[in-house]
Symmetry: C2
Subunit: 396 residues, 2 copies
């Protein structure tokens, strides 16, 4: 049987290859501290479950293809509080930020087209772009420069006649990089000047730690045709399993194409939309507490990393990830070894090796991504295990 | 800004074009009987809402990318009761049957490839196939022959070197056509002989009215490489808003490609999976009662249609749709006129005009699809309105 050449180009999740080793380690009685996945341990606000319990309609019917008005209104209000005003037609509810990205890429990409994405980047962008027949044109950054990508020269050097869009994951996954307002303005200007879409994947918007105001590419009303914001309740409300996201854009032609996809898949889950609308009732104290918790974790991880000789990292300004270069030959080999050959009192640790976050071959070989999604005590222990592991690995 | 040539080829839902007329009719005080949409009015089993209320985990986390084991096990058991045995790896949970179809088409289709689908067919197949760069190769049927498509000569005449799959919507939407066991065997044999996938969209499996055993292409274990079953809880349990479906196939290479898509979109909504698993706890009396209700409605619609002079239709054996040819010049014009110029004591009626169910231009112009999803009394009134409407329309 023949398969699509596009899907053949895609790979399984790179995280998956360590799964058998992790299973074996657990079977051997080891305890694994997981710094490898971005699943927060923060409790989902009770508003979600209350809304679900209060749902009283006897028939669980299809919702409207563009999304339920109650949720669209909640999102409009949330952005209104941040000083951004979107019409109802500027918002399409999707099954997570993932479907939002898939729909947007499918609407704007043809075979051979290119999307500029600073690397390291979220690996699922690969499948999303490649299944459209397009390719990611990476903009290279490095741990030495703090993974800084907002340089006009760097971005413009990557633009060619096949470029259709620039993706800004802001705050960044896996780097924790946060654009300054001036950098955002510049990125938007580049998109305007070259007639490109600029897609802001802003899943981690609330997770910034310097007291700065929350940001969005949606602020740039002068670039209404260019800007697309991808949003989700997943991280904001620790509701990853809700699978509720949205596409936000003032580009009506784009939204007119996107609605074709929305209609073809009929609707997004009804209960999850109702419950996600209720999430937007949480007060600012919720965000303040979550932000404080993650900031404390970030500071712990950074302090512990700085104490490990040979580690290169900068203190990330946002999201709940940190990317670092380790003094090891291969983070991949090191991770495997941590699962097969290492333990400290029966404990070991998992992170995400860096290579899979890069499109350029050979990049990120000695880098790792740490997701600081564990409670303080576990996080400290996990970082100590990392330090002990590096020392033992290099002494083999 | 440039958009994908593939999405540009797709159209908005053809049902949408009557929406403004329906709004105007309602504003003018008319009551509209909706026979145009496949949203059942049957109550969702309480098991769904109970499972949702009983969910006690504090964090609504991502589910497993292939689907939650509790739901996969429930589906395995359901098929086991029908005499079909599937391994855990033969089932991938999806966001509705829609995502299941999208993933399968994306896995098997390249630009210029063809999918054989008997027409009239479910219009969303158009967007799903066209966004893959492929085209639907229709196999023509007509109201005069009861929309019968299972003819070896007809199907084989449509096969060429670009053909990748045959889609059997069984029971059929919009026709209500149900394949006999012999016809299923023949369709599967054609797929085997020509090295094609045969995709059974079996959303309406339970809705058959002659007391026959429930059927599935999944029975044909000798065609493990060819058969793909698309399933969903939407119609089976009147849970369209759950958006829970699945891909079922013993073709491990296909499932290996499909999992790439599943991983890229992370997971399907957690609560809806837990609750859908609980739906499979309903007993056979649930299905018997629902089947009885729809059978009564079908018989009402058919009897009323037979009484209208000039209508051509056969009694459908399954699903909850009937396709019929009306004695009007254009079902499209007639529908518009029913909304703008007709009423009987303030009442009018909507159906789905037939043209959009065909790929061949000019086909289905005087046909309509009726979804018998209204309660008996409303259904009778709706059918009387249709008869009165035809008479008045042809007397203009």
């Amino acid at each position: 049987m023949k398969f699509s050449s596009k899907v053949k180009k895609c790979a399984l999740s790179p995280m998956r290859k360590f799964h058998p080793y992790a299973v074996a380690a657990k079977e051997a009685g080891k305890r694994i501290y997981h710094l490898n996945i971005g699943q927060p341990d923060i409790e989902t606000p009770p508003q979600y479950f209350e809304a679900v319990r209060n749902f009283q309609l006897p028939v669980l019917a299809y919702a409207e293809s563009p999304g339920m008005p109650v949720l669209i209104k909640a999102i409009q209000k949330y952005y209104g509080n941040l000083g951004m005003h979107f019409a109802e037609g500027d918002i399409l509810i999707t099954t997570g930020g993932s479907e939002a990205l898939q729909i947007v890429f499918n609407c704007i990409l043809d075979d051979g087209d290119e999307v500029i994405i600073p690397e390291p980047f979220y690996p699922n962008y690969n499948t999303m772009v490649n299944t459209c027949g397009a390719v990611i044109h990476p903009v290279c950054t490095s741990p030495e420069d703090g993974y800084h990508y907002a340089s006009r020269a760097k971005i413009e050097a990557a633009i060619n006649e096949r470029t259709r869009a620039i993706v800004c994951t802001n705050p960044g996954n896996p780097t924790g990089n946060v654009l300054t307002p001036e950098e955002m303005r510049m990125m938007v200007d580049i998109a305007k000047e070259h007639g490109l879409f600029i897609i802001g994947d802003e899943a981690y918007r609330e997770f910034v730690y310097a007291g700065e105001p929350l940001q969005s590419l949606g602020e740039f009303e002068d670039a209404a045709e260019n800007v697309v914001v991808i949003d989700t309740v997943s991280k904001r409300f620790s509701a990853c399993g809700a699978r509720i996201g949205c596409i936000i854009s003032r580009n009506r032609e784009l939204m007119g194409e996107a609605i074709k996809y929305c209609q073809a898949r009929l609707s997004v889950a009804t209960l999850d939309q109702v419950a996600s609308a209720a999430l937007y009732d949480v007060g600012p104290e919720y965000f303040a507490a979550v932000r404080e918790e993650y900031k404390r974790r970030r500071d712990t991880v950074v302090a512990k990393l700085k104490d490990i000789p040979g580690v290169i990292c900068e203190c990330p300004r946002g999201a709940f990830y940190i990317m670092a270069a380790l003094p090891v030959d291969s983070a991949d080999e090191f991770q495997k070894w941590l699962l097969t050959d290492f333990d400290d009192n029966g404990d070991t640790v998992m992170f995400a090796p860096g290579e899979s976050f890069y499109a350029t071959p050979g990049m990120g070989v000695n880098e790792i991504r740490i997701a600081y999604v564990l409670k303080q005590k576990d996080l400290e222990r996990a970082m100590d295990l990392l330090a002990l592991g590096i020392e033992a690995y290099n002494k083999r």
